[in-house]
């Protein structure tokens, strides 16, 4: 392979920006292992990005630094305690002589009770603290979910606007006439003026990994592929590619990714435009 043109393709930059897919990342990593010049280029680019960031940024305020380190304090302390606790267990035993003995015993008991209570409350505190952290995490998960729902809502809303404003024709595609799936049913919604096509899957069998359902608009120029059908989304609307002119719509089973021309033996449903 031509390493120089691989380097100059821009892929390494996107790798550093975190924009490659998992598969592409693997490719870059394994090529970097076998080609030192790719690794060198990656290192130089990273240096550049770091230098650019470091030179152009403002120093964050002391306030945020203090806040970060106070947040992290708990982790440091846990670590430092576990280091020191092992060395401090050697204590001297002092023999207790007579007149102070009862007081000494009472004081010891008080000390034991007090430290017992201290441990108990420290434990409680830790428990509450963990609960609080868990709640904070839950809250941020919920905020994320809300954002997602919000986005979905907007999409649905804009789709609804289209349907209210548009002039959609409903074409039922059925599998009755064919051998593949007698009970298959998929509806096409088509706005001829806006050239927009949606489909709603009513009933379609799941396909194995190697195949896809492909939708065809059949017009004067013969069948034109206008997108793959997602069977997972039953009864929700999927937007397909634009169509200006068609006498019928049909779905066939094609190898994964779709074909240029339909495999007519694997015609599943067909519906004519009334």
């Amino acid at each position: 392979m031509d390493i120089q043109s691989y380097i100059s393709s821009g892929k390494l930059e996107l790798f550093l920006l975190g924009e490659l897919t998992e598969r592409e990342r693997e490719e870059v990593l394994s090529l970097a292992k076998t080609h030192p010049e790719i690794q060198r280029e990656l290192d130089e680019l990273e240096e550049t990005m770091f230098a650019f960031d470091d030179m152009t940024g403002a120093v964050p305020s002391q306030k945020v630094k203090d806040k970060i380190f106070s947040t992290l304090e708990k982790d440091f302390i846990l670590k430092e305690e576990s280091k020191s606790s092992s060395s401090s267990s050697q204590t001297k035993v002092i023999p207790i002589s007579s007149p102070w003995k009862p007081f000494a015993i009472a004081a010891s008991i008080a000390a034991i009770v007090a430290s017992g209570a201290a441990f108990y409350y420290a434990d409680k505190y830790q428990e509450r603290n963990d609960q609080f952290t868990a709640l904070l995490q839950d809250q941020s998960v919920m905020a994320d979910n809300l954002n997602q729902v919000n986005q979905q809502y907007k999409e649905a809303d804009s789709r609804l606007d289209k349907f209210v404003a548009g002039d959609f024709k409903r074409i039922e595609m059925k599998g009755e006439g064919f051998d593949m799936q007698k009970d298959a049913r998929v509806d096409v919604l088509w706005d001829q003026n806006a050239q927009e096509v949606f489909i709603a899957v009513n009933n379609l069998n799941e396909l194995s990994e190697e195949f896809d359902y492909q939708l065809w608009a059949i017009g004067d120029d013969g069948p034109v592929g206008i997108g793959l059908v997602n069977t997972g989304e039953k009864l929700t609307l999927q937007q397909m590619e634009a169509v200006a002119q068609a006498g019928a719509f049909a779905i066939t089973i094609e190898p994964k990714g779709g074909s240029k021309a339909p495999t007519l033996e694997k015609l599943v449903v067909l519906g004519e435009v009334a």
Partner: protein, 177 residues
């Protein structure tokens, strides 16, 4: 400190290493965030969360999948973009006006005031318009390259080669200064 020492120290929750990490990288990482998130208070909040996240997630960082700075910068960049998009939604009504929350490099109140030290403009002076555009959208507005390609109808391959060319110019300028 070598990168391996830093990583080992962070994993051991060592205070000194964390301080070293902060001193060495805080400015660059904060730059990654603050050029996407305009508001200083929000940028510092994102930076706080991202830095804490880095120290917590260090156990899951895999050295064989890329260098430390890249990993940290991506955490910061993604946190900033998430923040930007969640803000955008809470402002509601308007859609995809990322521009509202980001300072354009050309604007009068722009980047130049936001920074001390070397000007962004000085570093970018030799970029041509196409490269400037790419850097603005990808670096300052948090777009992915495929978003730039779709939104401005530029072929993906062209976006990639412009990213490459722009960073090459920056590399030269960074080395010169």
């Amino acid at each position: 400190m070598q990168e391996e020492q830093i990583i080992a120290g962070l994993r051991a929750k060592d205070r000194k290493t964390t301080e070293y990490l902060y001193d060495k990288y805080s400015r660059a990482l904060y730059a990654v965030i603050s050029r996407i998130v305009f508001d200083k208070d929000i940028a510092e909040e994102v930076f706080h969360d991202a830095f804490v996240k880095i120290t917590k997630k260090i156990d899951r960082y895999d050295e064989s999948k890329g260098r430390l700075y890249t990993w940290m910068a991506n955490i910061c960049r993604n946190s900033a973009i998430d923040k930007l998009r969640s803000k955008e939604i809470s402002q509601s009504g308007k859609t995809n006006t990322i521009d509202d929350f980001v300072y354009g490099m050309e604007s009068q109140s722009g980047t130049q005031e936001q920074i001390d030290g070397i000007g962004v403009k000085e570093l970018m002076i030799e970029l041509n318009d196409d490269q400037k555009f790419i850097v603005e959208y990808i670096y300052f507005k948090g777009y992915t390259h495929s978003e730039v390609s779709e939104e401005f109808d530029i072929p993906l391959g062209t976006v990639k080669s412009r990213v490459r060319a722009a960073i090459q110019v920056l590399k030269k300028n960074v080395a010169r200064i």
